[in-house]
């Protein structure tokens, strides 16, 4: 019974968020226009300069190599961006209304993160099409490709809960933008997202090789390109599940603490 209500309330929140998107489509720019720009700029500008060797699959093309990085980067940003959207909500009176209703309070957050999962899925679909147009040729089996998409979305969903925690902890959306920039950018660039790890300075490599971004990018890349398979698949899933196990309760706790003040 309780679970049914929780699902019902969460769906109500997703529905509210989808109406917001319908009425202000510019809310989707970060998951439509930005990824398109990234795919085009990186593949065209860096495509000739970076030699990725076998990591680019059979064709050894940079675009093939790049796509996994772009996918995971975009999905990660979309996940963390949950913090800004939540912080916006917290600044308005609506949360007080929700708090005075006999609804499952955490469904406000579940609705938020599920909506952001849909946003991430939209971004992946768009990037896939744009990528194909500029030479992305996935070579993995259909099952492997579906698994790759599942892994990236799970990672994004897990980061959404980190976003919930950050959004509840930090007072203003503007401050969050700064924090996201300072934390997420280094994580994406010091990883295997855009360049092979071997090209990084030696002292950076231990960090770059083991941080979650790299693990997830590698898993997605191997699966989409049909490379030395499944080596990073399980670690990638475990990282996401681990982040979720910490982020989910932490997000709910910080949100409750923030809203009962």
């Amino acid at each position: 019974m309780t679970l049914a209500w929780w699902t019902f309330d969460s769906w109500e929140m997703v529905r509210r968020n989808l109406i917001h998107i319908k009425r202000t489509p510019e809310l989707l720019l970060d998951v439509t226009l930005s990824p398109i720009m990234f795919v085009l700029l990186f593949s065209i500008v860096f495509g000739g300069a970076i030699n990725v060797g076998v990591e680019g699959g059979d064709s050894q093309s940079y675009t093939n190599f790049l796509m996994a990085g772009i996918f995971v980067q975009t999905v990660a940003f979309a996940g963390i961006y949950t913090s800004v959207l939540l912080a916006n909500d917290l600044q308005k009176g609506m949360i007080d209304r929700f708090r005075s209703l006999p609804m499952a309070q955490s469904s406000v957050l579940v609705g938020r993160t599920l909506t952001d999962l849909l946003r991430a899925a939209l971004a992946v679909a768009i990037m896939w099409v744009v990528g194909m147009a500029v030479g992305f040729r996935p070579e993995g089996s259909l099952a492997a490709i579906l698994l790759a998409i599942g892994i990236m979305l799970l990672f994004g969903f897990a980061l959404s809960w980190v976003g919930v925690a950050a959004g509840a902890a930090v007072r203003t959306p503007e401050a969050l933008q700064g924090i996201i920039f300072a934390v997420v950018f280094p994580l994406t660039f010091v990883s295997s997202a855009f360049v092979p790890i071997a090209t990084l300075p030696e002292w950076l490599r231990p960090f770059a090789e083991n941080q979650p971004m790299t693990v997830v990018v590698n898993a997605v890349r191997d699966l989409t390109l049909g490379l030395d398979l499944y080596q990073d698949t399980l670690p990638a899933i475990l990282w996401s599940v681990g982040i979720l196990i910490v982020g989910f309760p932490l997000g709910i706790w910080l949100y409750n603490r923030r809203t009962t003040q």
Binding site: R23, G93, R99
Partner: protein
């Protein structure tokens, strides 16, 4: 129906409430009256489960707000000083969402929403986004949202602050209608006229504690009884008028020479007016205006706190 004992709420060093007791009887309107920063909003936030008291306990509809917040929420409607609405949703969608979150079924939600929109004169605007609403329309929709589940207890935090006179009057009618329908209402206000007009009981609070309570009449009596007030035509007659009035009333007359106005405390109405007019006339005093006057709640507040109640600016009471 609403009871609280010894509510304390501290925000760091700021003490918003220091031992507030309150009690609203079933089916009545309790008005919590106080200037900005008196602790009104904090009290409402505690009673509506939005925040925990540092100390003290409260029950709403017989349910403990600390132990069973979810059950309290199922029995209350809340309309705040800042309309808690979704700007990007239409009026109807807002009510629909709130209704469904109260766990009403789809048909009931649609019917209730339509009825409330009609009653609150929002039918024409029902399918526009709230973004396009005026301040008065937002407040009405906010109150409508609070009533979606027909709750037995309704909390209104400064329901008319910031509204124009027309908006205020229409809000007053709606609140009066609620009370007639048997709903228990707790409303905060910094407008004495509002409390006087709508409330069965008034609780005057200042600096986080109650400083007086009772009906409007009781509070007025507390400050001093009824007075006979006379405005005379010619200033030189003030002395004669004073002599006549002091012979009729209790104690010394209060005289405002600039306005040629005098007043004296009286204990009953019985024949007083006619006698006063006759005797003033006999003394050769011409009367411009005469009547009984009770102290206003402004005077009540001034007497109780030593300062005027209406410390504008508007809507500056911090949520904390």
């Amino acid at each position: 129906m609403i009871e609280a004992e010894g509510l304390h709420k501290y925000f760091g060093k700021t003490k918003a409430l220091v031992g507030l007791d309150l009690d609203a009887r079933e089916g009545t309107v309790l008005s919590v009256l106080g200037p900005n920063g008196a602790g009104k909003t904090t009290a409402v936030r505690i009673l509506t489960t939005l925040t925990h008291p540092t100390q003290g306990s409260a029950r709403v509809a017989g349910i403990d707000v600390l132990r069973h917040p979810a059950r309290v929420r199922a029995n209350i409607g809340v309309a705040g000083q800042y309309a808690a609405l979704d700007e990007l949703l239409t009026g109807r969608e807002n009510l629909g969402m709130v209704g469904r979150l109260y766990r009403l079924n789809g048909t009931t939600v649609r019917q209730r929403a339509a009825q409330l929109l009609e009653r609150f004169e929002l039918t024409d605007a029902a399918d526009r986004t709230v973004k396009t609403y005026s301040g008065g329309m937002r407040r009405r929709l906010d109150l409508a949202a609070a009533l979606m589940s027909q709750p037995p207890v309704v909390f209104l935090d400064e329901p008319t602050t910031g509204l124009d006179p027309k908006g205020r009057l229409s809000m007053w009618d709606l609140i009066a209608g609620l009370a007639q329908g048997g709903t228990t209402v707790l409303m905060t206000t910094q407008y004495l006229e509002e409390a006087d007009r709508l409330a069965d009981d008034i609780l005057v609070i200042d600096h986080g504690r109650a400083i007086a309570r009772g009906t409007a009449d009781e509070l007025k009596r507390q400050v001093g009884g009824e007075r006979l007030e006379v405005t005379i035509s010619d200033a030189p007659n003030l002395g004669d008028a004073q002599r006549v009035l002091e012979a009729m009333g209790e104690g010394p007359a209060r005289i405002n020479a600039d306005d040629r106005r005098l007043s004296v405390a009286v204990t009953s109405h019985e024949g007083v007016l006619t006698r006063a007019i006759r005797e003033l006339d006999a003394a050769g005093v011409h009367v411009d205006d005469i009547g009984f006057r009770r102290p206003t709640l402004d005077e009540v507040f001034l007497t109780l706190t030593g300062r005027p109640a209406e410390e504008q600016p508007l809507n500056e009471e911090v949520a904390s």
